[in-house]
């Protein structure tokens, strides 16, 4: 669950270059006219631009609070910290380390993920009671994350190449103007047939996402709010509200204490160091 909403890493620069090349060919055929751009091309171009704007953050750290609310309005709370590392090698993905602080019975449990582009991610879990580091299967993309309405696949880095795209329309989203783009997961084991994302035209930030289940009916809606900008470039939402329309449950995720470029190294994100994580 690489940096919950930061979608980007330089690895995509390779992918980006190919896509931009494809776009420029299109542009040539269209005599520079955007009119010839298909909805698919426009959707991809929006994703590529959003991606480009979030390159170069290097590493980050933040504290999260997760409030789970069931159908009866009863709540339970999780507190965790996430460290993320942007990886420069274009053939591998970002890395993230999640450490749980609350509830107390899972305190010290740590989760390490090495995101991949097309292959399955590498994931390890550290169980403090046994001092055991366990390599776990990453096939479980669509399962709930610690009992919440977020699935693993909602939380891991949103690589451009993990979806195909289709621009639907432009429309107002609150005070802003948004692109509305459909995206279709191409990675294995997704729980979704598609997602519809509202992206603001000014800063290319995701504002809202509708998730459609395997039967293509609306399952969940995610709303991103309280955006702050870091290092004069990188936008991060500090509140993520996920509502499940089918179960009536919801999860609110709030971020605090974002720090960037704290000097993390590859070595901090290895399985043999996982048992030292705190």
């Amino acid at each position: 669950m690489n940096s919950f909403q930061s979608q980007h890493s330089p690895r995509r620069s390779g992918v980006t270059a190919i896509m931009l090349a494809a776009l420029s060919v299109t542009a040539a055929f269209g005599a520079g006219s955007a009119l010839a751009e298909t909805p698919e091309e426009k959707g991809l171009a929006i994703a590529v631009e959003a991606d480009k704007r979030d390159l170069g953050w290097v590493d980050s750290e933040s504290e999260l609070k997760m409030i789970l609310t069931n159908r009866n309005g009863e709540t339970s709370t999780r507190e965790l910290r996430i460290k993320s590392l942007e990886v420069e090698d274009p053939t591998v993905g970002d890395k993230s380390l999640t450490i749980f602080d609350r509830p107390r019975d899972i305190e010290g449990t740590a989760f390490l993920s090495h995101t991949k582009i097309t292959e399955p991610d590498d994931q390890w879990l550290y169980l403090p009671a046994l001092k055991r580091v366990k390599r776990i299967s990453s096939a479980n993309k669509s399962g709930p994350f610690v009992g919440s309405e977020f699935a693993y696949e909602d939380l891991i880095s949103q690589e451009v190449a993990k979806y195909t795209y289709k621009w639907l329309r432009d429309e107002a989203c609150g005070d802003l103007q948004c692109f509305v783009v459909e995206r279709f997961p191409v990675y294995e084991n997704s729980g979704y047939t598609k997602q519809v994302v509202w992206i603001d035209q000014q800063e290319y930030r995701p504002m809202k996402t509708d998730f459609y289940d395997r039967k293509d009916s609306l399952l969940k809606t995610l709303v991103n709010t309280d955006y702050n900008q870091y290092l004069d470039q990188y936008w991060r939402a500090h509140t993520l509200q996920m509502d499940n329309h089918q179960t009536g449950k919801s999860t609110t995720l709030t971020f605090d204490g974002y720090k960037f470029r704290i000097g993390s190294s590859e070595g901090d994100f290895t399985s043999n160091r996982l048992k030292r994580a705190r």
């Binding site: 107390r104 299967s137 669509s142 290895t270």
Partner: protein
């Protein structure tokens, strides 16, 4: 987790206290050395946490042996606080974890231990631990074959997952070609055994006050271990060697001063080389542990190999179902080496994880001897209650036990159901 350590079931304390004292002194001197460093003037962070657990063990059957009390309901309480002091931005850390249990019936199960008291220092490409710590190696579930650094706290449970703290100097080097770990282990912890009148004590009482050692240094023998671990894409591998005092004692029959036959623990010097590996392919985890050990009769080989396959989102729900199967082989000669439950056995298990807000989990598993069909199996369930509590229910059952089975026959009537309620703070 499910049944691993089969062997021990009586208890002992003396050597443990002495080893703890050595380790404590080690950690304290490390601590004062650390504090006297000039760069450690700035204040660090304290963190207090821990748990208190109330437990009720229920024994449905009368015990098999006359000396055992016919205890049917046996309550106990255990406390395990954790104090952590961290400085240098987390690069230096002192951890203190004492443990104590008070058991209403088994005097030996009422015990205290120093689980951890150590100074961890983390640098860029190495880290070190000085003091008492716990180290786990391995990948399989039915037996923790390669896990050798710590002694079993065998009075806690029969699953081999509770460990006594081990005094150590540990250095880990993180390199491109893997992680290399070296351990110097001064001070040996004797295995605790259950009281003579307690349930789960086995066929004969163990006289743990008169343990003998192959080494003249006895529990002060300094043991060594080295391990290399690395990840190759889907494959996680560890190779290790241990030289020193066997954590498993042989239990030798003797006639004591009262004319009774008792078992006296004997700790041999051994050399053990081990391999553990896991291949992770989609929903399949392929697991292997193997050891070759010398020092207890002829060199022998033992292995645990199997898989864990997970069905994610069972029947369109959020629940996952893990299916586990492992084969266990142990080629030791029980005339010269400690008795072992799993010489030629199959393990089958299933784990259901509901992935709900309470982290509800169910586990069932059984080990069957291929030759005698003697079977031990367990059923476990756990769930969080509110933000601070956890409830656990465990049942361990011994069925179809063969008269010749040294270990299971001694506990054949000690089926036990445990209800545990833990408060975390």
């Amino acid at each position: 987790m499910i049944f691993g350590s089969d062997k021990g079931r009586l208890l002992k304390g003396d050597g443990n206290v002495r080893a703890s004292a050595v380790a404590g002194a080690l950690a304290l001197s490390a601590f004062s050395a650390a504090l006297s460093l000039p760069n450690v003037v700035q204040a660090g962070d304290w963190d207090f946490s821990g748990s208190v657990a109330g437990e009720l063990r229920v024994f449905p059957n009368a015990p098999a042996f006359d000396e055992q009390d016919d205890t049917r309901f046996s309550p106990s309480i255990a406390v395990e606080p954790e104090v952590v002091y961290e400085w240098s931005g987390g690069d230096d850390r002192i951890t203190f974890v004492p443990f104590a249990r008070l058991d209403a019936h088994d005097d030996n199960r009422s015990h205290v231990d120093l689980r951890e008291l150590n100074w961890l220092h983390v640098a860029d490409d190495w880290d070190s631990v000085i003091g008492v710590d716990k180290v786990f190696w391995g990948v399989t579930e039915s037996r923790h074959l390669v896990d050798i650094i710590n002694q079993d706290d065998a009075v806690e449970d029969v699953d081999g997952e509770d460990k006594l703290g081990q005094p150590m100097l540990n250095l880990n080097l993180f390199r491109d070609w893997g992680t290399l770990s070296g351990f110097v282990l001064p001070g040996f912890r004797e295995r605790p055994f259950r009281s003579n009148d307690a349930r789960l004590r086995g066929g004969l009482p163990v006289d743990d006050d008169n343990a003998t050692y192959e080494s003249n240094a006895e529990e002060y023998h300094v043991d060594f271990a080295v391990r290399w671990a690395h990840t190759f894409d889907d494959l996680d591998v560890g190779i290790a060697h241990f030289h020193g005092t066997s954590r498993e004692p042989r239990l030798l029959p003797r006639v004591n001063d009262d004319g009774r036959v008792v078992l006296v623990p004997r700790y041999d010097q051994i050399d053990q080389t081990s391999l553990d590996a896991q291949l992770t392919k989609d929903a399949w985890l392929w697991k292997l542990e193997a050891i070759s050990r010398s020092g207890q009769g002829d060199r022998f080989f033992a292995t645990v190999a199997g898989f864990e396959y997970t069905i994610f989102g069972l029947l369109d729900s959020n629940a996952d179902l893990g299916l586990l199967a492992e084969y266990l082989y142990d080629g030791r000669d029980e005339d010269d080496a400690p008795a072992v439950l799993t010489d030629d056995d199959f393990f089958l298990g299933a784990r259901a994880t509901l992935n709900d807000e309470q982290d509800t989990t169910f586990l069932i598993g059984g080990i069957v001897d291929r030759d005698t069909q003697s079977t031990s199996f367990s059923v476990e369930a756990e769930r969080r209650i509110g933000q601070h509590w956890k409830a656990e229910l465990e049942g361990r059952f011994f069925v179809n036990v063969d008269d010749e089975d040294l270990i299971l026959n001694g506990i054949r009537d000690d089926d036990v159901i445990t209800l545990r309620l833990t408060r975390f703070f």
